[in-house]
Subunit: 227 residues, 2 copies
C-alpha cells in the first residue's frame, strides 16, 4: 500500500512529502537549482534514476513543473503549489535547526556538498566584477582527490571545481571539513577558528578581514538553537 487510506489533508500531503528524498528535492529547487545535474550536486547520495522518479512524482503531484529549453536542456521549477510547500520545508528546516541538531555526525560531513553550498551563497558583490578571483580551499583531512577545491569568481558567476583551473590563486583557506562546516552552519565563527588555529587564511589583507562577510553562511546559521 502506498497511501494512508485517509481523506485528511495532512495524510494527502504526507503522501507527497513522505516519500524518501522528496523534501530535499523541494529544498534544492527552492534553493535555486533548476537542472537535473545541479539537483544531483546538491543531493550526491541520490541516484539519478531515483531523482528522475521523484521529479516525475512531484510533477504529477503538481509541485514541480518542467520546461524544455529550445536548445534541448530541461529546466525544473516549483509551481505555485510547490512554492507554498517550499515555505513549509524552510520552516521544517528551522525546526530542525532548533531541535534536531545533533553534533555534526561524521556521516553528514561531505566536502562536495559543503563546497556546493558555499558556492551558492558566496557574496559575489565583494569581488571585483572586472577581475577573476580564484579561491583555493584545502581540506587537510582529505587525501588527494577531494583535498583541493577551487572557487572561481568571474563576471558575477561562481564556479566550483575539483581540478586546478590553471589560474593564479588569489586567496587560500586551509582547514578541515568539520571546522568549515561548523562555521558555515553558524555553530562556530571564523574568528574563533582562526584563533584556535583550525583555519588558516592566506591572501590579501582586505579579503582576510572581510571573509566573514563574503563567505556566506547557511540559511539557518542565524537561527538560535533551542537546546
Amino acid at each position: 500500500m502506498k497511501g494512508y487510506g485517509q481523506f485528511c489533508p495532512v495524510a494527502k500531503a504526507a503522501e507527497i512529502v513522505g516519500e524518501r528524498w522528496s523534501i530535499l528535492v523541494i529544498r534544492e529547487l527552492a534553493a535555486g537549482s533548476d537542472s537535473f545535474n545541479a539537483l544531483r550536486k546538491g543531493l550526491p547520495l541520490l541516484s539519478p534514476s531515483l531523482l528522475s522518479t521523484r521529479l516525475k512524482s512531484l510533477e504529477s503531484a503538481g509541485v514541480v513543473g518542467k520546461t524544455t529549453l529550445p536548445r534541448g536542456g530541461t529546466r525544473y521549477r516549483l509551481t505555485k503549489a510547490g512554492e507554498e510547500l517550499a515555505s513549509i520545508v524552510w520552516e521544517l528546516g528551522t525546526w530542525g535547526h532548533r531541535w534536531a541538531r545533533s553534533d555534526l555526525s561524521e556521516d553528514d560531513l561531505d566536502p562536495s556538498m559543503l563546497m556546493w553550498d558555499i558556492h551558492r551563497t558566496l557574496r559575489k558583490e565583494y569581488f571585483d566584477p572586472e577581475q577573476r578571483t580564484v579561491i583555493l580551499v584545502e581540506f587537510t583531512d582529505y587525501a588527494s582527490r577531494l583535498r583541493y577545491w577551487w572557487l572561481v569568481i568571474e563576471k558575477g558567476e561562481v564556479d566550483v571545481c575539483l581540478k586546478d583551473p590553471g589560474h593564479e590563486v588569489s586567496f587560500q583557506i586551509t582547514t578541515d571539513v568539520r571546522t568549515l562546516t561548523a562555521v558555515w552552519m553558524g555553530d562556530s565563527t571564523m574568528a574563533r577558528e582562526i584563533r584556535r588555529g583550525s583555519i588558516t587564511l592566506a591572501g590579501p589583507r582586505q579579503l582576510k578581514e572581510d571573509i566573514g562577510k563574503w563567505l556566506g553562511s547557511n540559511f539557518y546559521a542565524s537561527v538560535k538553537p533551542a537546546r
Copy 2:
C-alpha cells in the same frame, strides 16, 4: 542507509518526519489523542507494532514524551519540540487541503475514521449536560457490521460505539459515507445534501435546525482550496 548523509537542518528534520506514519502520529497527538489505543483509532491502518516503533522513534527524537500513570496506563504527549513540529504539520495540512485535494477516493473513505473524527469535534455544549443524548448514524452503503453507529453524549463526554448501547435514540442521521465525509470536510453542506435527499434527519426540530452547528467539521473545512 537510513539518513540522508547531509548536515542540512532540512535533512535532519526530514529524517524524522519522513518516516512513514510519523506525520500522522504527530497529527493525532496534536488532535488530542494521548493513549495507545486512541492513537490506533485515528490510524486504523497502522499496525500496533509499527505504532509502537514510531512512538519510540519519535520519543528518541525528542518529539514525543511518555508518562506512566499511577494506575498503570501510559500517556503520550508532544514535547515542546513536538508542539512546534505539530504547528508545521497543521500548515502541511492546510497546504494539502489547498493543493492536494483529490476528489475523495474510495480508498480514503472509512466510516470508522469519520465517526472517530466526528466524535472528537462534536460540540457538546449544544446538548443538555444533565441528560443523555443518543445519536444514531446509519450508513446506507454499508452492511450490518459498520452500518449503525451510536454517538452517546452524556455528562460532557462523547462516546462512539458500534454496538447498540441500549438507550433510547434521540436523533437519527441516515446517509452514506461519502456524503457525510464531504459535508464534514467542507466540500458540501448539510443543507444542500438534505435538499438533494442524500441526508435524512429524524428527531427534534431544534436539533435538526442546529445540526450545522453541533455536528462539527474538519479542522480544514474552512480553508479555501486553490484549485
